[in-house]
Every structure is written in structure tokens, then in C-alpha cells.
């Protein structure tokens, strides 16, 4: 379902990973609107019902995780990190619903990792001040500066390669098995539980953990 767009006489192809990313984003926005409407209607003195309970559990778990990994004063990152986790998890799981997982496109997940990288750098600058931040690159010797810069820059690349490689390899393995087994292919349906659900959720969790670590380093 690739879409070709003609603009100024040039033809651009919008890959289907982008389209599924937009579909997932719209779906998540609708879910968020429904949840906020439900929260407004809910009464504070009553225990939350089914669906709201799950959301509350999710938010509470994420708050606790941010508190234990990043400390009290970085609690304001909790909504951003929960959004990131829900979005990446939804992207990883979208393969089950017939969409092409957006995370199997390196460009998509690399942009997400770049956002995290920029936020982390700005947070470091804000927390210790720009002179100290720049001086941090020359630790422990001035000779190590290029290595420090490379190690900092390799962070988003390794973070995005991890999710990309896992999701793409899961898709490749299932495709290979479906082609190889022919008529017996329904036999490998349980494999989706591992390759799509377990690996997808685990990678979203790991991405979020590394996000917290990379935003947090450099300040105590």
C-alpha cells in the first residue's frame, strides 16, 4: 500500500512503514482522548473500573520506575517516557494486525533515538552548565576527547539498531518459515507469541530503560 505523491513534477514514494506509523499515532491519540474523557467523568472517591485501572497501573509503574532510575527531580520526564514506551510497543505489535511495523524501518526508529539523544544532551547542559558539560568531554585526559565524542554519538545509533534489528529479524524469520513450510505454515503461529509479542514488548522496555539511563547520566 505504498502511496506515490507528485509534487513539483517530482514523484515521492511514501513507504508503508510511514503510513502505519501515522495510523498508529492516530489510534493512540483517539485512545488518549477517550481515556482523558473517562478520567474526567470518574469520581475520585470510587475505585477505578476495569480499563481505567489498567491505565492507572501503567502510569504508577512508570512513575515508580522513573523515580528509582532517575531520582525525584527528573519526575517530569515520566509522561514523555511513558508516551515513548506506549508508542514503540504499539509500533512493534502492529505487525500482528497486518501493518508493516514502523520499527522495521531504520529511519523511523533512528529519529526516535535522535529525539532522545537531543533531550539527553540538553538535560545534561541544563543540569551541570555548559562549561562543565563541555569539560566533561576531556575527562580523564584531553587526548580522550575524540573517543568521548564518538562514544556519545554512538548512543542513538546503537539504541535504534537494537530495536530495528530485533523487529526486522523477527519479521524475516517468520517470513522464511511461512515460505518454507507452505501448507503447514499454521503450525508456526505460536512463534508470533515470542517473536512479536515478547520481543516487541521487551525491546520497547529496553529502549525506555536506556532512554532513562542516557538522560540521567552526568548528574547525581
Amino acid at each position: 500500500m505504498e502511496i506515490a505523491v507528485i509534487y513539483n513534477g517530482n514523484e515521492f514514494i511514501i513507504p508503508n512503514t510511514t503510513i502505519s506509523a501515522i495510523i498508529i499515532a492516530i489510534f493512540l491519540i483517539i485512545v488518549a482522548v477517550i481515556v482523558s474523557l473517562k478520567i474526567k467523568k470518574a469520581k475520585a472517591e470510587e475505585a477505578p473500573s476495569g480499563f481505567l485501572n489498567v491505565i492507572e497501573l501503567l502510569v504508577e509503574t512508570m512513575d515508580n520506575m522513573v523515580k528509582s532510575n532517575m531520582g525525584e527531580k527528573n519526575m517530569s520526564f515520566s509522561p514523555f517516557i511513558l508516551t515513548l514506551m506506549v508508542f514503540i510497543a504499539a509500533c512493534n505489535l502492529s505487525g500482528l494486525f497486518g501493518l508493516t511495523p514502523p520499527t522495521s524501518d531504520f529511519g523511523f526508529i533512528f529519529m526516535v533515538a535522535l529525539i532522545v539523544f537531543i533531550i539527553a544532551q540538553i538535560n545534561h547542559m541544563k543540569s551541570i552548565g555548559i562549561p562543565k558539560y563541555l569539560k566533561g568531554f576531556t575527562e580523564p585526559y584531553a587526548l580522550m576527547t575524540p573517543l568521548n565524542i564518538i562514544s556519545e554519538l554512538s548512543n542513538p545509533i546503537s539504541m535504534s539498531f537494537r530495536v530495528f534489528g530485533n523487529i526486522l529479524s523477527g519479521g524475516l524469520v517468520t517470513t522464511l518459515l511461512y515460505t518454507a513450510l507452505g501448507n503447514f505454515s499454521p503450525l508456526i503461529a505460536p512463534l508470533h507469541i515470542y517473536l512479536d509479542i515478547f520481543v516487541g514488548l521487551l525491546q520497547a522496555f529496553v529502549f525506555v530503560m536506556l532512554t532513562m539511563v542516557s538522560i540521567n547520566t552526568g548528574e547525581n
Binding site: 546503537s158 539498531f161 537494537r162 530495528f164 530485533n166 526486522l168 529479524s169 525491546q203 530503560m209 539511563v213
Partner: protein
């Protein structure tokens, strides 16, 4: 022996061999993860109440250990499907 082989076929075959060789890197990651799981089991046996903390650290460590395996996988995928070496012909 190589006389009947076209240049493209030769490069494609070498790419396939390279992709296979690249995947040997999975060995290191698998070994490391096995050792880490064994150590985590020992730690949980010694301190069962710290299970959550140990598991979380272990999973994070897995993700980082896995990186070199993933790099080799990406190299293998590029060699097999993008075939950058064919462009050099």
C-alpha cells in the same frame, strides 16, 4: 574452476559467505547471556527478596550484550538484501 562464473554470481556468492561469517558474532552474545543468566540465578538463590531488581538489571544487561549480535545481523542483512558490493562492478 572459476572460469564459468560471471562476476555478479561470484560477488553474490562471496556476499552470502560473508553474511554467514558475520553471524558467527552471535556466538559471543549467546555465551555472555548464558553466563549472565546463570549468575542471576545464583544471585536470586542467595537473595530471593531482590528478585525484581536482579531481573531488571539482567534484562538491561542482555540488551546491551545483544548489541554486537544485532550489529552482525544488520551487516548480514545488508550483505544479503541491499548488496552494496554489486554496485562496485
Amino acid at each position: 574452476m572459476l572460469q564459468g562464473i560471471s562476476n555478479e554470481a561470484f560477488i553474490l556468492g562471496c556476499s552470502a559467505i560473508g553474511a554467514g561469517l558475520a553471524m558467527i558474532a552471535g556466538f559471543g552474545g549467546a555465551l555472555g547471556e548464558g553466563i549472565a543468566t546463570g549468575m542471576a540465578c545464583q544471585a536470586i538463590g542467595r537473595q530471593p527478596e531482590a528478585q525484581g531488581e536482579i531481573t531488571r538489571t539482567m534484562v538491561l544487561g542482555f540488551a546491551i550484550t545483544e548489541t554486537n549480535g544485532i550489529y552482525s545481523l544488520v551487516i548480514a542483512i545488508i550483505l544479503l538484501f541491499v548488496r552494496p558490493l554489486l554496485a562496485g562492478l
